[in-house]
Symmetry: C2
Subunit: 333 residues, 2 copies
């Protein structure tokens, strides 16, 4: 913002006038416009020409970057963002990225030219992301991690996974298989860490063959579960890193004649609405998806309005939801 | 469209110049601007002053009005809209209306002030809607009906429901219960008409007690199914007007000790991804959700670019997907 001040000083006008000259030049007198434009050239005001698209012109729009809008957890979070944004008079522009950094980049460029006021990123910040703090634009991560480069609203994924795995251990399970997400996904890493902490505390040694990687889709749950079905020494319980993969896995297990909770226990993560209606209903971790979205918008609004944030890392509570898919260990799967 | 032409004629300039005078007056000479403004006043060009927000200013944004973005069918359609819009350089602004006409109205006002180029409405036009042709703004309905006031992209819901119910009748079912959507919903009405046509052709008389109304949510499927469970003379098959309600209904039936396809048949509608993973997998009608979204955007773009539409009512093919939840009738439920 200091450079817009310099332009204003050089042009002998107010900051508001510079802002108006940039956003709605038709509302500024020809003489003033010429002076402002001359000052802009003189001060080499390029970086803030871009910032104009995000801030000065206040578009009352935000962009939501989402890996896959057809995923129930994300669409519920977006419903929360939309509800709060709408109350504040903000439009929500949708950026479905298909988890591609190239598409994410396109949206960033799109944002630049479209005068959006800020971005909510519905995934943890990954190292290759082009949405860096250097862009100098308000960004909030939903489902972020500790030490995220952007302010973040999330649950504690490590503690949540640990809680869930401890629930399985308390039921007597010692050999617990994991249907993980993509190996390089920050959520996968955090939830795996929670799993490791829980088994370590219980004195169970880590066995890499008990981790089967998917990509958080229903179909990948089917494939990951087949790994366990084909094992000579099967686990007695499965921790799936989201509900979709658990629902896909249930189908694999049923095809193999294995039915929870009789033959094995299985738990998911997210508490999507469908998890209540599976056969049997799924034990899972409830993430407050809608609340995460609402909170993220409020943090973003504080950034847009250049208010001091009370915290850069807001952690909302999760909840262990125990349903019929988990019960006391009887034998191996 | 005629009125912008009249203004252009009266001002002695091209339509493009009138458009430019409205959207970016700074790019038009003072003399031309004065002539255009005089012509606007003379022609009482008010409706198109509003239309400027939608058209002339070409915001490269569209608004998508969706009853509930957390519904899988809608979020998949939006993924299609987004994918096509993105390729054309258009932003998608999300309007989650919670099926409320009041919220829809707010979005219409929002659209007016935000210079969106057009609207896609992800539901059939209802009589109370404030998005009327008089608004003179490009609107496309996805999942519309015949004789919609706006161009529409849809499947033939009557024929699709009829096909599904005929499938049940061909399996020997005579007493077919219906889990309907909201009674006043245009989809409910069309799908009920398809049901009635199928049973009438088969010489089965209509029985109102076999229709149980829900609201297209999982939870409403549970409640609607309880109606059938409590009947003295139960149906042998259930046609649910969407997959979500069928999935909810499966839980009610299971609780009552009734399991398809052994004890009864059940079919859904939409072919959402979860329908493949239920126990048993669900017979359903596949709607090309993503394709409906993509096509709707292309129609909207033609409207925005003021091209002649080849058709005001594009009907895409549906497909009957037969899975294990339906089989030959054995006895009553």
């Amino acid at each position: 913002m200091s450079s817009i001040r310099e332009v204003a000083l050089a042009a002998g006008v107010s900051i508001a006038t510079v802002s108006r000259a940039l956003s709605t030049p038709e509302k500024v007198s020809k003489n003033t416009l010429e002076r402002v434009n001359a000052a802009i050239d003189k001060m080499d005001y390029r970086p803030n020409m871009m910032a104009r698209n995000f801030r000065a012109a206040r578009s009352y729009s935000i962009v939501v970057l989402v890996p896959n809008i057809a995923n129930t957890f994300f669409s519920t979070a977006i419903r929360g963002i939309q509800s709060s944004a709408h109350k504040a008079g903000y439009a929500v522009i949708l950026g479905n990225t298909n988890d591609s950094l190239a598409l994410e980049k396109e949206y960033v460029n799109f944002v630049r030219t479209r005068q959006s006021d800020g971005t909510i990123q519905l995934r943890p910040h990954s190292s290759g992301s082009l949405i860096t703090p250097e862009l100098n634009t308000p960004v909030v991560s939903v489902c972020g991690r500790e030490n995220s480069p952007h302010p973040s609203v999330r649950i504690d994924n490590i503690a949540a996974a640990q809680t869930l795995v401890e629930h399985l251990i308390n039921q007597g399970h010692q050999r617990i298989g994991v249907i993980a997400g993509n190996a390089d996904d920050p959520h996968t890493m955090d939830r795996k860490r929670g799993y490791c902490q829980a088994i370590e505390r219980a004195g169970i040694s880590f066995d890499e063959t008990l981790i089967s990687y998917g990509d958080f889709t229903l179909c990948s749950g089917v494939i990951a579960a087949n790994h366990f079905v084909s094992m000579a020494h099967r686990p007695t319980a499965i921790f799936s890193m989201n509900d979709e993969m658990a629902i896909g896995a249930l189908q694999s297990f049923r095809s193999a004649g294995l039915n929870p909770p009789k033959d094995f226990s299985i738990a998911g993560f997210d508490n999507i609405e469908f998890s209540k209606y599976t056969e049997p209903p799924l034990t899972t971790i409830a993430q407050p998806a809608e609340e995460l979205g609402k909170t993220a918008f409020h943090v973003l609004l504080q950034l847009i309005e250049e208010q001091e944030l009370p915290s850069n890392d807001i952690v909302l509570p999760y909840e262990l939801i125990v349903r019929e898919s988990t019960q006391n260990a009887l034998g191996e799967l």
